[in-house]
Each structure stands twice: as structure tokens, then as C-alpha cells.
């Protein structure tokens, strides 16, 4: 005695839905990156040479800049393509997550559709700008 299956709804691909999911998934991705960066840092003997603040800075943004001023004897292993890619990934996730978060907070209080759409455009521009700048910083340092 099974009742007939109803037509299953589509996941409804709109901005709100995608960003909702993205926020959660990017959060998980950031965790992953942080863990990889932390493990990497420890493997690269950060334990003896780094303050906790520097370690955190590295974990959240594995960018050679962030460890340049520490007591690490050999900075070269920290300056690889691998870590640059990780840093860019982190930048991508954190940037999109954070800026959308900002937008999300504002949207909670904005009723007008026009303003909402303009803000979204604005945030997109900021995101692209920040990302470009960020990438420049990462690759040039």
C-alpha cells in the first residue's frame, strides 16, 4: 500500500538558494584549507619559530607574506606554487563567503527589490576588485 510518488521539485536554482548552499559549502572548504595549512605549517617546523598569531594568519591565508617576518630560517619551502594556489582558493572562498555574508546581513533589512539588486551588483564589483588585488598581492609576494 504505497501512495503514488509526487513529482519531485527541482532544487530551484536562484541566487538565494545558490548562495545559501555556497555559504555552507565554502565554510566547509575553508575548514579544509585551514586544516591543510595548519598541518603544512607544523610539518614545515612552524612550531618552534612562530607566534600563535602568525600561525593563525598562515592558517587562514597561506601567503608567504604572512610569515616573512618570523624567525623561520628557510622561507623558500613556504613560497611554493602549492601554497599560492591554496591562498588563492582561500581568497576565493573567504571573499565570496564574507562579502555575500555582508550582503546577506544588509538584505535582512532591505525591502526594496531595486536597492537589493543594485547592492548585489555593487558587491559583485567589490568582490572582483578585492580578488584581483588579493591575487596580485599573493603572486607578487
Amino acid at each position: 500500500m504505497k501512495t503514488k510518488q509526487r513529482p519531485a521539485p527541482l532544487g530551484g536554482f536562484n541566487f538565494d538558494y545558490i548562495m545559501w548552499l555556497f555559504t555552507r559549502l565554502s565554510a566547509l572548504a575553508m575548514y579544509l584549507i585551514v586544516i591543510v595549512a595548519l598541518t603544512g605549517a607544523l610539518l614545515m617546523s612552524a612550531r618552534q619559530n612562530m607566534s600563535i598569531a602568525d600561525l593563525m594568519r598562515w592558517a587562514f591565508m597561506p601567503n608567504p607574506n604572512h610569515v616573512a617576518s618570523t624567525n623561520i630560517p628557510d622561507i623558500e619551502v613556504w613560497k611554493t606554487i602549492f601554497w599560492q594556489v591554496m591562498a588563492i582558493l582561500m581568497l576565493f572562498f573567504a571573499g565570496a563567503h564574507g562579502l555575500h555574508g555582508l550582503l546577506n546581513v544588509v538584505e535582512d533589512y532591505i525591502s526594496s527589490r531595486r536597492i537589493r539588486m543594485s547592492l548585489r551588483a555593487l558587491v559583485l564589483v567589490i568582490w572582483v576588485a578585492i580578488s584581483l588585488i588579493g591575487i596580485t598581492v599573493i603572486v607578487t609576494s
Partner: protein, 129 residues
Amino acid sequence: MGLKRNVGLMEALRYQGKGPMLTYILHRIGGLSIVIFVGLHILAGYLANHAWGANLGIFINSIYENWLFQVFIFFFALFHAINGLRIVILDLWPKLIEYQREAIWLEWFVFLPIYGIALFVIVRSGLGG
């Protein structure tokens, strides 16, 4: 006739929302402070590399170096990360919401010692010890 719909910030904050409402407020403040700071920091990193903006860049970076600021930002960053994980888990596996009360306990249980240690380290180095 009647009053306008009015929810002032203070009125809202005075609602006796218990544990989860507090985490929401902290999460929100935390998220916002991180984006703003991270944004500035990236800018600073860029500026510091160019002679025309080096001063500003260095100034912003020096805020970060300040231990008082670290006490603040580390609190929110850590809290945002741990609380965010709770939200992600509860959102993606609604069945677990049955344990939401425990989740909040657990969250503080994880957060406090980590932050405690970090606080100790930051303050000690901040006070030049």
C-alpha cells in the same frame, strides 16, 4: 490608529533569547568584523607594496600587529568558525537539530579552552613577557 511597527535595536536585544540568540549575535558581529578587516588587510597588503600607499598600508597592518586588536579579532574569528561549523552541520543534517542544546554546550566547550590558551599567549607576548 495603533502604533507603528517598531522594533528598536535595544528592544530586540532585550528579548530573552537564551543561548542560541547570543551565538547568532556574536556570529553576525564576527562575520562582519572579519570581512571588513580582511578586506582592509588585503588592501593594505597591496598598498604596502607600492610607494604611494606604503604608509597607509603599514598603518593598517600595524593595527593587526597590535595585541589588543588580536584579542578582539581572534575571539570573533574563532567563534565564527566554530559556530559556523555548528550551523553548517545543523543546516545540512536537520535530524541533528534534536541535539541543538547539546551543540551549543559543545561549542562553548571547544571554544573556551582554545580561546583561553590563545588569549594567554597573545596577552603574554603583548605585555612583552
